[in-house]
Symmetry: C2
Subunit: 233 residues, 2 copies
Amino acid sequence: MIEAKKISYQDIKALALKRIRNKTWPPGSIMPGEVELAGEFGCARATVNRAMRELADEGFIDRKRKAGTRIKASPTRHAKFTIPLIRDEIESSGATYRYALIRRDTPKTPDWLRARLALSLQADVLHLKCLHYAGSKPFQFEDRWINLDAVPKAAQQNFEMTGPNEWLVQEVPFTDVELTFSSMNADLQTAELLGVSEGAALFTIERITWLEKRPITFAKLYYFSGYQMTSRL
Amino acid sequence: MIEAKKISYQDIKALALKRIRNKTWPPGSIMPGEVELAGEFGCARATVNRAMRELADEGFIDRKRKAGTRIKASPTRHAKFTIPLIRDEIESSGATYRYALIRRDTPKTPDWLRARLALSLQADVLHLKCLHYAGSKPFQFEDRWINLDAVPKAAQQNFEMTGPNEWLVQEVPFTDVELTFSSMNADLQTAELLGVSEGAALFTIERITWLEKRPITFAKLYYFSGYQMTSRL
DNA sequence: ATTGGCATAAAGTCTAGACAAAACAGGACA
DNA sequence: TGTCCTGTTTTGTCTAGACTTTATGCCAAT
């Protein structure tokens, strides 16, 4: 008789996953309760609880008090990929990172931006355009707007040596981020900056950051043609 | 004197985050150990442990046995967005989902695919082209390859009524996924299928799925022009 | 039938204590 | 000097038990 050694929450996770996959616990059904499983595996309920909690976090099951734990019909897989600082992204590919400020001004806040960030009528913004290079090639064009109401000290910063993203991450805490990925044809100006032909398909990210409901910054990032973002889950 | 009631791991998380943000515990430094914190908050070490474990999962701190818990210099934020089934994505936008199979064949396995999936020389594949509509508009063009070695019963399936993704999710378990996002100009054929002009910028996703090292399927998904993928974190 | 309330079942959390595992530091020894 | 061993510290995990919270289903009163 093989000794059972000790059972970890990871073992239970793996076992439960196996039962979900081979439909011992079919999709849509309720699996045994924590007490029962703890009995079966000969461990404490807390151990089962942790395993199940993680499976729920990972989207395989739904748990409700009193109702029990139900196998999801179609597991919600969620990609969980890291958003690296652009400097790190470039340097980790082996290339040298270089940054250039193209333009810095404080225009009248455009209406689309005010609407997008729910800014008040008198909110001032700082507008920056920058290029990030990998070696000698343009890698990303950044069109950035900073809410000076929320980040007044950005007005004192010239951003000639340090990119706004790097500066903001160091200086301004944030709590919420919205990312929007899309694709667009390069207009003439962007094409020239990135060194591609007009109409080339560009991968773009829009990024809005808040600190507890207060909008901090809006950035539109245009990547060079051919950029790929990969994530494993 | 206000009674402290009870302290939950969430309170501790929030408090720790506040201290990280306001630099009570500056980036790069070591924060107090679990025992010390448990003393300060008047709770059990397990409670502190859970709070800290979650903060570590979320990328704010690094924990190492013996070395202690260190505040990350630049917190690794990771986007965690759900990959919905395309039917759900379309229906939740209020439109009617419609599916059409364009082509189904079993060609000689192309070399690029064999290389990409690390397939053996004699592996057979099923090749499908499909369109997914939102109402009357093309939403996504799907170019799918299925490894018949790993999923032999796919050969019996005609895929005329049900899309391969929906079928695979129901029938074939998987353990690993790789997603690659990029952008490309529509070629003539794809443009016609999606009802856009040639050269339009398309958002594309490549998706490879494995079951424990065995490649299951490769899909290239071309979205209509203007598609946006948004995630909040 | 419909509503309201109550008992109960299940997950969620906390505690106090124990042992395990990793990683580092310092000493013994070749 | 370098290598190995051993002790110590800190996080990682587990246990057994208790209490809390939330949903649900049932029963009674409208």
